[in-house]
C-alpha cells in the first residue's frame, strides 16, 4: 500500500516536472531501483529525452541512475561488450563518511543540520580549492547535485579528462584526498638548514605551508608547547614558514615532528571523499532532478551552493495533511519545521514529511 502511494506521488512529480538528462543521453547505461534495492536492474538505454521522460512517467522507478561512462552499446552485456568510450569525472560526497560525533544522536538515516552543513563545506572545498584553483577546471564544466539523501555529487564535464583511465582517475582522487604525500620530497636540508614548503607554492606544498601557519596562529594543541608559548615565537615561525624556512625554531628531531604534524592534514581531508566511486569508470550515478526513493527528496541541481539548504530547496511535495503511523524517528527537519521525535505515534503530517518517513520505512499510512 505504501509502495503504491509513493509510486503514485512520484509519478505525479515526473508528470509535472521537466527532468534533466545528461549529455549524450543515448550513450549512457541506465539503472533502476525498487522499493527494496537502490539498483535492481541496469544495462538499459534510452535513445532520447522523450523516451526517458515517458519511461519515468509510465514505469516510475524509485531510483534512477545513469553511467558516468559513455558507451558505444550502453545496453550490451557483459560490461566488456558495451565498448567504453569515455567517462565524466564524478565525486561522491556523503555526510556518513565524515564520521561526525552528532551521528550517534540521530543515526545516518536522518542527517542533521550539522551533517548537511559540513558535507556542503566539503563540496565547496572540493570545487573551489581543488577542482578550480589547482586542477584548473572551469566552473562552467562543473555541476553540483544534491544526492537526494545526505551528500553531493560533483560532476566534471571536461573533454580533456574524459579519456583518462581508472589509474589516472585514482591519481586525481589521491590528490584531492591527500593520499601518498611524500614528505621526503617536501623537505630538504640545505647547509644544515631545514627548508620546505612555502605559502605561495602550488599544489600540496602550498597547502601544507598554509595549514601549519594556521595551526600556529590559532595555537593549536597539536603543536608542541614550545611553538605556542608566546607571540614572538609564533611570529618568527610564521614568517619563517612563509618563506620556506622551516628551521626557525630549534626542536630536536624537528623533521620528524613536522612530519607527524602534517600526517594529519592528509588524513583529515582524507577519508572524506568516497574513494572507490570516483575511480570506477563504470559507475552509475543518480539522475539529476530525479527523486530519491529513500527520502522523496529531489537530487537537485544546485545553482547557489552557499545558500543551498537541501531540506528546504530539494523538497518535491506539499503540505496537504496525511495521517501516518510512525514506528520511530529522531527529531528531524523539513523546510523550516522540526518534527518528532516519534515512538509509536499516529499523527497527521504534511505530505512532504509523511513521504520522507514512509520512504525511510519509518511510517505507514494510517487506516
Amino acid at each position: 500500500m505504501e509502495q503504491n502511494y509513493i509510486r503514485q506521488k512520484f509519478q505525479e512529480y515526473y508528470q509535472k516536472n521537466p527532468i534533466e538528462w545528461p549529455p549524450e543521453v543515448s550513450r549512457r547505461e541506465f539503472g533502476f531501483g525498487s522499493w527494496e534495492k537502490k539498483i535492481e536492474s541496469r544495462h538499459s538505454r534510452f535513445s532520447d529525452y522523450t523516451e526517458l521522460k515517458n519511461y519515468l512517467v509510465r514505469n516510475t522507478p524509485f531510483f534512477i541512475s545513469y553511467s558516468t561512462a559513455y558507451y558505444e552499446f550502453p545496453d550490451a552485456r557483459p560490461m566488456e561488450r558495451k565498448n567504453w568510450l569515455k567517462a565524466d569525472l564524478v565525486f561522491d560526497l556523503d555526510a556518513d563518511q565524515l564520521k561526525l560525533s552528532c551521528l550517534a544522536t540521530h543515526t545516518k538515516d536522518f542527517p542533521c543540520d550539522n551533517c548537511l552543513e559540513k558535507i556542503k563545506l566539503e563540496a565547496i572545498k572540493l570545487v573551489e580549492e581543488f577542482l578550480v584553483t589547482d586542477l584548473g577546471f572551469s566552473k562552467d564544466d562543473i555541476t553540483i547535485n544534491f544526492s537526494g539523501n545526505r551528500g553531493y555529487h560533483v560532476h566534471v564535464f571536461d573533454k580533456k579528462i574524459q579519456k583518462l583511465n581508472a589509474d589516472a582517475r585514482r591519481e586525481l582522487i589521491d590528490y584531492v584526498c591527500g593520499t601518498g604525500l611524500n614528505f621526503d620530497s617536501l623537505f630538504y636540508l640545505n647547509e644544515n638548514r631545514l627548508l620546505g614548503p612555502k605559502t605561495n607554492d602550488g599544489g600540496w606544498s602550498g597547502k601544507v605551508a598554509n595549514h601549519v601557519i594556521n595551526l600556529v596562529r590559532s595555537g593549536s594543541p597539536t603543536l608542541p608547547a614550545k611553538l605556542r608559548k608566546n607571540e614572538e615565537i609564533k611570529n618568527k615561525v610564521i614568517t619563517g614558514i612563509a618563506n620556506g624556512n622551516w628551521d626557525v625554531v630549534a626542536i630536536p628531531k624537528k623533521q620528524e615532528l613536522w612530519k607527524n604534524l602534517l600526517g594529519g592534514v592528509g588524513v583529515a581531508l582524507g577519508d572524506k571523499i568516497d574513494q572507490n566511486v570516483t575511480g570506477d569508470v563504470s559507475k552509475l550515478i543518480r539522475l539529476a532532478n530525479s527523486l530519491h526513493g529513500e527520502t522523496g527528496l529531489i537530487a537537485k541541481i544546485v545553482k547557489d551552493i552557499n545558500n543551498f539548504d537541501p531540506l528546504k530547496h530539494a523538497t518535491a511535495f506539499g503540505n496537504q495533511e496525511v495521517k501516518v503511523e510512525i514506528s520511530n524517528a529522531p527529531k528531524f527537519r523539513i523546510g523550516d519545521q522540526y518534527y518528532g521525535p516519534y515512538n509509536n505515534n499516529t499523527t497527521s503530517l504534511p505530505e512532504v514529511a509523511a513521504i520522507y518517513l514512509i520512504c525511510k520505512k519509518r511510517a505507514k499510512l494510517a487506516k
Binding site: 589547482d134 584548473g136 579519456k163 589516472a168 591519481e171 604525500l181 620530497s185 599544489g203 600540496w204
Partner: protein, 301 residues
C-alpha cells in the same frame, strides 16, 4: 640536419613519411642492423645510441626502425612487443635529454603535448606520468591545471607517451612483411635467451593475499607492473620469508626486466626492512582487488 632528427625519433610521422617515400632496399646491411636492434632491445632492454652524421648511415638507421617493427611483430609475443617498445622509448628519451628545446617541442607535438615555461597540462600529465611515488600528482606543484616539472621529468613523461605510442601500433600485419624479413625470425629467436620457464612460487602454508596473487598473475602474463606494485610485492614476499633469488627470478617476466637493477632493488628492500603497507595504502595504489576485512595483507590466511 633533418635526417638526424628522424634517426633519433623514428616513430614520428615525419620519419614515417620519409620511410614511405624511400624505396627501402632490404640489403644485407639493413637486415643485419635491424636484427641487432631487435636483439639488443629484447636481450639487454636497451638499444645502443649511435652518433653519425653520415647521410647513408642515418638512412639505414631510420629504416632499421621500420624493419625492427616487422621483426618484433613476427615474434608474436606481447611480452616482446612491450619490452621492445620500452627499449625504443628509452633510446629516444636519452637523445631528448641532450637535444635542443626546439626538437623536444617537435617530438611532443607528435602527441599533442605542450610544454611551456616548465609546465604541462594536468590531463596530459595524468595520461602519461609514470606510476611512481615521486611522480604522483600530489607530489608535484600544481596550479590552475598546470603541473610544474623539470626538463628531465618532462622527458620521462614523454618517454611514457612514446612507449605507449609504439606499443599500441604493434604488431603489424604479417601479410605486409616481406619474405626477406620473415627469413630472419629464426635467427632472432636463436639469439634470445631461452624463454625462462614461468616461475611460480607458493606460500609454505596458507595462501597469499588476493592483491598479491593478482600481482603474481599479472607478472606471469608479462604485464608491465608499475613501480609501486613491484615494490609492494617485493616487500610482501620478503616478509613471507621468500629469498632474494626467487624474487628476482619472478620479475624475469617483466617486459623491462634488468637483472642487475632488480637484484639491487630487492636487496635494498630487504636491507631497509620496509614495513608492509596497510590495506588502506594498497587500496590507494589501486592494487586492492578484494575487501578482505583485514588491516594488512600479511594478515591474510
Amino acid at each position: 640536419m633533418a635526417n638526424q632528427f628522424l634517426a633519433h625519433y623514428p616513430f614520428t610521422s615525419e620519419a614515417k613519411n620519409f620511410v614511405a617515400e624511400q624505396k627501402i632496399d632490404l640489403n644485407y646491411d639493413l637486415l643485419e642492423i635491424s636484427k641487432a636492434r631487435v636483439i639488443s632491445a629484447l636481450k639487454d632492454g636497451q638499444i645502443p645510441s649511435m652518433d653519425t652524421q653520415v647521410e647513408e648511415a642515418l638512412k639505414l638507421e631510420i629504416c632499421s626502425y621500420a624493419v625492427s617493427r616487422m621483426l618484433v611483430s613476427l615474434l608474436k609475443s606481447k611480452f616482446y612487443v612491450s619490452r621492445y617498445s620500452i627499449a625504443e622509448a628509452k633510446r629516444a628519451s636519452s637523445y631528448l635529454k641532450v637535444d635542443s628545446d626546439e626538437n623536444l617541442a617537435k617530438v611532443t607535438r607528435e602527441f599533442n603535448i605542450g610544454w611551456n615555461k616548465g609546465s604541462m597540462q594536468v590531463s596530459d600529465y595524468l595520461a602519461y606520468a609514470p606510476r611512481a611515488l615521486e611522480y604522483k600528482l600530489i607530489n608535484k606543484h600544481l596550479s590552475n591545471g598546470l603541473v610544474s616539472l623539470t626538463r628531465n621529468e618532462f622527458i620521462r613523461v614523454i618517454e611514457e607517451a612514446i612507449r605507449k605510442h609504439i606499443e599500441s601500433s604493434l604488431p603489424i600485419n604479417e601479410q605486409a612483411i616481406p619474405s626477406q624479413v620473415q627469413a630472419l625470425v629464426a635467427e632472432v629467436k636463436k639469439a634470445l635467451p631461452q624463454e625462462t620457464a614461468k616461475i611460480t612460487i607458493q606460500p609454505q602454508k596458507g595462501e597469499y593475499a588476493p592483491c598479491i596473487k593478482k600481482l603474481l598473475e599479472d607478472l606471469k602474463n608479462s604485464e608491465n607492473l608499475p613501480h609501486i606494485a613491484r615494490w609492494s610485492l617485493a616487500v610482501y614476499l620478503i616478509h613471507k620469508g621468500v629469498d632474494v633469488d626467487s624474487i628476482v627470478n619472478l620479475f624475469k617476466t617483466a617486459p623491462d626486466f634488468n637483472e642487475k637493477v632488480t637484484r639491487y632493488q630487492v636487496e635494498y628492500v630487504k636491507k631497509r626492512g620496509y614495513k608492509m603497507p596497510n590495506c588502506s595504502v594498497i587500496m590507494s595504489y589501486g592494487l586492492c582487488v578484494a575487501r578482505c576485512r583485514i588491516k594488512n595483507p600479511l594478515e591474510f590466511k
